[in-house]
């Protein structure tokens, strides 16, 4: 996967499958420290210690439809490739927190990509889950809350306008800078 926003979609879908009802996604970009931090925190069913130990292994999965589980191992690989880190905390019945820290200027660091598409995809296809996104760029903050658009999701004509609005808002926040 070529964008961090696609990994975010993938990890958040894991949270949905773990029966999470609230998923917080945080991106922090700190140029001074040359660091991009991505966190996905959910209130899903969590993992026991044994599962947690195996979760970075690409040949481990809880799925029964296939024998490989690549989502987390992709992140682990990116961390290794760029000299970053991947931290996973989980408690059964409480939830899971995944934190990926990467050097901003490393050539193998995937770009953040189309985060707005990821947020719309998550919100539309999982209307019962509350998604909250917070991006910080050198102190400036942009947020998205699926509760704000929840009532608009059923109307596809309005959704087109919501999409346009979010793209414009986000572009205003980033100043068009692609990271």
């Amino acid at each position: 996967m070529e964008e961090l926003s696609l990994h975010i979609l993938d990890i958040a879908e894991n949270s949905v499958n773990a029966k999470a009802t609230k998923i917080d996604i945080e991106i922090d970009i700190n140029k001074k420290e040359n660091l991009i931090t991505m966190k996905v925190i959910d209130n899903g069913k969590g993992m026991d210690e044994e599962t947690l130990k195996s979760v970075r292994d690409p040949f481990f999965t809880t799925k029964t439809t296939r024998k490989v589980g690549l989502g987390i191992s992709f992140l682990d690989e990116i961390a290794e490739l760029t000299g970053g880190s991947l931290e996973i905390e989980s408690k059964p019945g409480i939830g899971t927190m995944i934190c990926l820290r990467l050097p901003l200027d490393h050539p193998d660091r995937p770009p953040l990509g189309d985060i707005v598409s990821t947020l719309i995809t998550l919100s539309v296809t999982n209307p019962d889950v509350h998604f909250y996104y917070k991006e910080t760029r050198n102190g400036d903050v942009w947020t998205f809350d699926s509760e704000d658009i929840k009532d608009l999701l059923g109307d596809y004509a309005l959704l087109g306008k919501v999409k346009e609005l979010l793209y414009n808002n986000y572009k205003e926040f980033t100043g068009g800078e692609l990271l």
Binding site: L9, N17, D114, T121, D151, L152, G154, L158, V162, L165
Partner: protein, 123 residues
């Protein structure tokens, strides 16, 4: 359209539409959104579906996602379930194909057989 507040003002209309779309008789479009689907481009396929529904002002369709079903090599997979009809699974659905599926299958009731991976009766 300046802010989310403006959009909220038209909430009432949207809520009526939600009531409409949650009726069980609605058509369902299900996009495979497992790691394999996402890596194969499922997000862009889904965005194209939403865009096409929006352009055509189609309301009585529910768009949702499913995880990996073990057919990773055929992703992005898109299932179309119309009331009283078998479940049609389309394979390798690019955004362009997705737009054609909306026009042909959703609007005109014509299944695009060439792209069908499987047909499941009684879905």
């Amino acid at each position: 359209m300046k802010s989310l507040e403006d959009l909220k003002r038209i909430r009432e209309r949207a809520q009526a539409q939600i009531r409409l779309r949650t009726q069980e008789s609605n058509t369902k479009i299900i996009v495979g959104m497992g790691t394999c689907g996402i890596a194969a481009g499922a997000r862009e396929t889904l965005m194209a579906i939403l865009d096409e529904l929006s352009k055509r002002n189609i309301q009585d369709v529910v768009v949702t996602q499913t995880g990996c079903v073990g057919l990773c090599e055929y992703e992005p997979l898109v299932n179309v379930i119309k009331p009283g009809q078998p479940k049609i699974t389309y394979m390798k659905v690019t955004p362009e194909k997705a737009r054609q599926i909306i026009a042909s299958h959703i609007v005109n009731d014509q299944v695009i057989n060439e792209w069908v991976l499987s047909t499941e009766e009684g879905a």
